[in-house]
Symmetry: C2
Subunit: 317 residues, 2 copies
């Protein structure tokens, strides 16, 4: 009998990555389309359906697609809708019945939708570092800080479908940085790629510590990482600070759901050589004794180029 397959679609502000995936987590055919060329959702969905049918045909697997999983910002798992997604040119205002529209355009193949961090958690559980785990917290360290929480083997969606916004927990209670969400002191204003670059720039302005970063025009988190690798003191302290805040936040997350592990993914997680030690130190200093030294800190084991597609596809099984 021929193996069942699924499709994973990861929708970001500029592009949508699409792939056909088998049960072992191999992306057997993939493509990327632009996601920022439309003001309305319907023409984008029509274009997406054309692209998906094309890769299914190219791979010669017509009739074997069991479902489509979609990771997208502001996606509601319960309703299949995308709601007020400010980062999507066609999703800014109101509610788009994305799952239902795509299902129709794909001749009835079932479509499941969730946000990117929840999709990443599904991906790690199905094919990656969290295989076999029933309780873990996925933290994505990208331009923002996202999260997907798994309890008893299931992603937590909560009462309304939007659970797991751990990037917006308050890590600096007074005089914290202003976040895009309108609040201040959110974890993601400090511990995202953007937050790391901002910390470096602030510290360079506030001190005269010598640093290779002083010669750069626009500092990115990658620059800070490169500088830290070269032994730059200030850059290393930026990572120490970032890791400490992450560890403090993780301690409270552990006290909530007692996970087996915290799983890290995303561009900033590549700096693990500078993040692991401060994270573990702060995490263990801020949890109850019963969890001290017991909760694992692990990094995604998925191939980075495939991870987004794999995460979305895992929803479809």
């Amino acid at each position: 009998m021929e193996q069942n397959l699924v499709i994973g679609v990861d929708i970001g502000g500029q592009t949508a990555k699409c792939g056909v995936v088998d049960a072992r987590g191999t992306v057997i055919c993939q493509t990327v389309i632009r996601s920022d060329q439309h003001e309305a959702a319907e023409p984008f969905i029509a274009e997406l359906a054309v692209a998906l049918k094309r890769i299914v045909k190219e791979a010669g697997v017509e009739g074997r697609i069991r479902g489509i999983g979609v990771g997208a910002p502001n996606a509601n798992y319960y309703t299949g809708d995308i709601e007020n997604a400010v980062n999507l040119s066609w999703g800014r205002s109101g509610t788009i019945h994305f799952a239902s529209l795509l299902k129709d355009a794909m001749d009835g193949i079932p479509v499941t939708l969730t946000n990117d961090a929840n999709a990443a958690a599904m991906g790690e559980m199905t094919y990656g570092a969290a295989r076999g785990m029933k309780n873990f917290i996925m933290i994505t360290l990208g331009t923002g800080v996202g999260s997907g929480i798994v309890i008893n083997g299931e992603v937590v969606y909560g009462h309304d479908g939007f659970a797991g916004e751990l990037g917006h927990t308050t890590i600096v209670r007074h005089n914290g940085r202003l976040c895009n969400c309108g609040k201040t002191g959110c974890l993601e204003t400090y511990c995202s790629a953007i937050g790391v670059a901002r910390t470096a720039r602030e510290w360079l302005d506030m001190s005269d510590t010598p640093s290779v970063l002083r010669s750069l025009e626009n500092i990115t988190s990658k620059d800070v990482y490169e500088a830290a690798k070269e032994g730059d003191e200030l850059a290393r302290k930026v990572f120490d600070f970032t890791g400490t805040l992450l560890g403090e936040a993780f301690a409270d997350f552990i006290q909530f759901s007692a996970p087996e592990a915290i799983v890290l993914f995303g561009g900033l997680a590549r700096s693990k050589e500078f993040l692991t030690e401060p994270i573990e130190r702060a995490m263990n200093a801020n949890v109850l004794p019963l969890w001290r030294g017991k909760v694992k800190l692990v990094y995604s084991s998925l191939k980075e180029s495939d991870a987004a597609i794999l995460g979305a596809s895992a929803l479809a099984w």
Copy 2:
């Protein structure tokens, strides 16, 4: 056919409250025994079994007990053990196989064990203010701050059975109060009955604001409540401060599991006339816009004298 019944046992440091409960949440027969008279667990469990058999006989319901639910400190739902319970004279060191020992002493009636706050959450869901809710967070405001988290209709136990220690999340990050757990700045050092009394005493020492509390030798949270009712400014500010910290903490809990409601129970929750406004204000100021004004704050609807027994009994269904 005769109705099935369960037994609820709530074990505290001084007493164990026991009752026979029907499916509608009526305590049809109850008793209280001392829990602080033994250094070893076995003789306490033997005494408890005698007391339980006596109330079953008094109620004339022999043979109709379907299960026994026990709420106790440091109780592990997965294993049925009580582990290192410093507040129990017979539970201080090591592991007591409580569920299995009590089951044997009760001629094989199944015994389920969890901590008191999880039991309270089960009680609210089965008979109380959270009936019909599938996602809520129970916060018990007593001498400490406990919590029971319900997601998809089930209490969250986590990887090891100890999830839901929200009283030990850090609410004051720097120079916070020392907690019994060894950490500093834990929510329960500020927002428990003991924390409220401590805030009042600190503020009286640090200022010369006039207050009826100045005439008292040992201030309790009840004194602060009585003073607030009389219009005492300082006492009202203590509740405003306490409620604000609770609301800030609840905002982060909401961002974790997106509950339908936060349910409050315990001695301090009786001060709701002074707590509700600051809690709701701080909670709504610190959540993402999508939850603003949407998550309910509700108070336990169980009769206080029955609540502990009902909570424990709810485990047994």
